[in-house]
């Protein structure tokens, strides 16, 4: 159990949060022009690094806001949190 810092509420227990997949996957600008392969890439393909990954999280049992976080996939440590719309912060590996 770690504490996660909600960008609104501050530090709360991890059980109050839910994970929402990779962050910054933007909707295609011209969806009608995409091939099946390109759609598949948008819908199903995600980064799978060992180390820091930008992800979406939601403070489900608290303010119920979505935010972004950089999590180290090998240690499960949340290295940084930032609000939707804010740039992804640099984190030291």
């Amino acid at each position: 159990m770690q504490l996660i810092r909600c960008p609104w509420c501050g530090s709360r227990e991890e059980v109050e949060f839910h994970y929402g997949g990779q962050a910054h996957v933007s909707y295609p600008e011209n969806p009608a022009e995409l091939s099946d392969a390109e759609w598949a890439r948008y819908v199903f393909f995600r980064a799978n690094p060992r180390g820091p990954l930008a992800e979406r999280w939601v403070h489900a049992a608290g303010c119920r806001r979505w935010f972004n976080a950089v999590r180290d996939t090998s240690t499960h440590e949340l290295l940084a949190v930032y609000r939707i719309g804010e740039p992804q912060p640099e984190v030291a590996r």
């Binding site: 509420c9 709360r12 227990e13 109050e16 049992a61 608290g62 303010c63 119920r64 806001r65």
Partner: protein, 196 residues
């Protein structure tokens, strides 16, 4: 025969057990409070007219609440509040708020039946809540006016701190979880109260 039209609050059946608590813990349901959910841009043009209706500005600091004497306005999110008002006042308050909002992008929803409210007080109240909740409710960390949405004994809850000595709280729990919550509360109170 019982009147089928009579309203029954979620914790009506638990009133005797809650009333029997004594010593360091006192608890009672405040049934049928009007609860309105307000979605609004706090920096937008509707914020001031709404504040005029409520008698207080919408709190914009996360996890705080403000009271006007009549209304209690709880911060739920950066664009979301819960307004507590006396029982039965929903229709007229909703009309007043919608008039204040006018054509601005906002929403007022009556959610009075979603949660019921329990007033928990007494010198043992903070210790009781600590049995099921990780939030630090010491006055140094949670001063009067704090309002946290969190988990208490695994059920979602809103805790409003009503004084500066951690002896007076409002707890808002979803109606369908209310009886579970009351059972937990009575059980957790055992070592803090005098035997009946």
């Amino acid at each position: 025969m019982a009147d089928p039209r009579a309203r029954r609050s979620p914790l009506a059946g638990w009133a005797p057990q809650l009333q029997a608590l004594n010593g360091a813990i006192r608890a009672q349901e405040l049934p049928f409070l009007t609860q309105l959910n307000l979605r609004l841009d706090s920096g937008g043009p509707a914020a001031d007219p709404v504040a005029k209706v409520l008698g207080v500005s919408l709190p914009t600091v996360p996890c705080t609440s403000v009271g006007s004497g009549v209304y209690e306005v709880l911060w739920l999110g950066p664009d979301e509040w819960l307004i507590l008002a006396p029982a039965g006042s929903a229709p007229e308050l909703m009309i007043a708020l919608r008039e204040a909002i006018g054509s601005e992008h906002a929403a007022v929803t009556d959610v009075s039946a979603q949660r019921t409210t329990v007033q928990l007080s007494g010198p043992g109240a903070r210790e009781l809540l600590a049995k099921g909740c990780a939030i630090d409710l010491h006055p140094a960390a949670s001063p009067e006016g704090s309002c946290v949405q969190t988990l208490l004994a695994q059920t979602g809850i809103i805790i409003v701190v009503r004084d500066g000595t951690a002896t007076d709280f409002l707890l808002l729990v979803r109606s369908s979880f209310a009886e579970y919550f009351a059972a937990w509360l009575v059980d957790a109170s055992v070592e803090l109260t005098e035997p009946a």
